[in-house]
Chain length 138, copies 2
DNA sequence: TCTTGAACCTCTAGTCACTGGAGATCGTAT
DNA sequence: ATACGATCTCCAGTGACTAGAGGTTCAAGA
């Protein structure tokens, strides 16, 4: 049995975040001491590690809740879990695609100005003001 | 002179968002009709287009406010503007890097499970539960 | 046993960039 | 004159935390 601070140290999840996860229903409410302080066991640590890992991979709280639900039913098909994972993968890929387009445009804009002139003639500002100066949609 | 609805249509920025930009100081408060409705001119349209374009490129409201500030001083060096743009570029590149790592990990996790088994043996769930199954840090 | 001080508790509010709704008023076409 | 869509302000909600105030508890040392 260990305190919330100890759990925080072991998982690298901040204390208010742990309480937030509890409030959102991702973490079961743990036992309490007589003085009302939370005391966790190995199961709590495992659960929080799962959540942390999933959050690091960008899963939403909602998706994580669904994954935890599935974990609790070892006899159910895991198709749902793989669906959630592949949805997350598509999401990540879409974000990468969009960011690459932005990167290209930002490189183009930045190249146009060496930073030595006056704002009057700044290509950065001109590009932002006039969308026609862009090469592609974004 | 045109209404907020017309401005919204022309810029593809939603009406509440336009009001939000005004409240945040990015847009000057426009003239009003006798009945208190906003009426915009070409300058308002131009300004909002600038903001929209910068937001599409991922600049924060704060960064945009700084860029607008600079726009208003044509005689100042544009080094600051290029700095803001290159900071934004680094930011975008950092995000891409991180997302690529996540993508790799998600592909690996997804590959391990065909979705036909039971959750009990699901590699997706097992991977999330046990960080040691990951190939790299993320 | 007592005291200290770090750790913990709850509750509220703030972050960013919007988005949506309620309820009231305005503008314009017929 | 009337109808009705557009607009007004104000307030609350989103996601995933984060921070602070003000009070209580735990554990170690004297």
């Amino acid at each position: 049995m260990f305190s919330i601070g100890e759990l925080s140290r072991r998982t690298n999840v901040k204390i208010p975040t742990i309480r937030y996860y509890e409030e959102s229903g991702l973490l079961d409410a743990p036992e309490r001491t007589e003085g009302n302080q939370r005391r966790y066991d190995a199961a709590g640590l495992e659960r929080l590690s799962f959540i942390k890992h999933a959050r690091d991979l960008g899963f939403s709280i909602e998706a994580i809740a669904a994954l935890i639900e599935l974990q609790g039913h070892p006899d159910r098909s895991c198709a749902e879990a793989t669906d959630i994972a592949s949805a997350q993968l598509s999401d990540v890929r879409a974000k990468i695609k969009r960011l690459r387009a932005l990167e290209k445009e930002l490189v183009r804009i930045s190249k146009g100005c060496d930073g030595n002139g006056m704002t009057e003639d700044c290509y950065v500002l001109a590009s932002l003001a006039d969308h026609r100066l862009c090469e592609r949609e974004h």
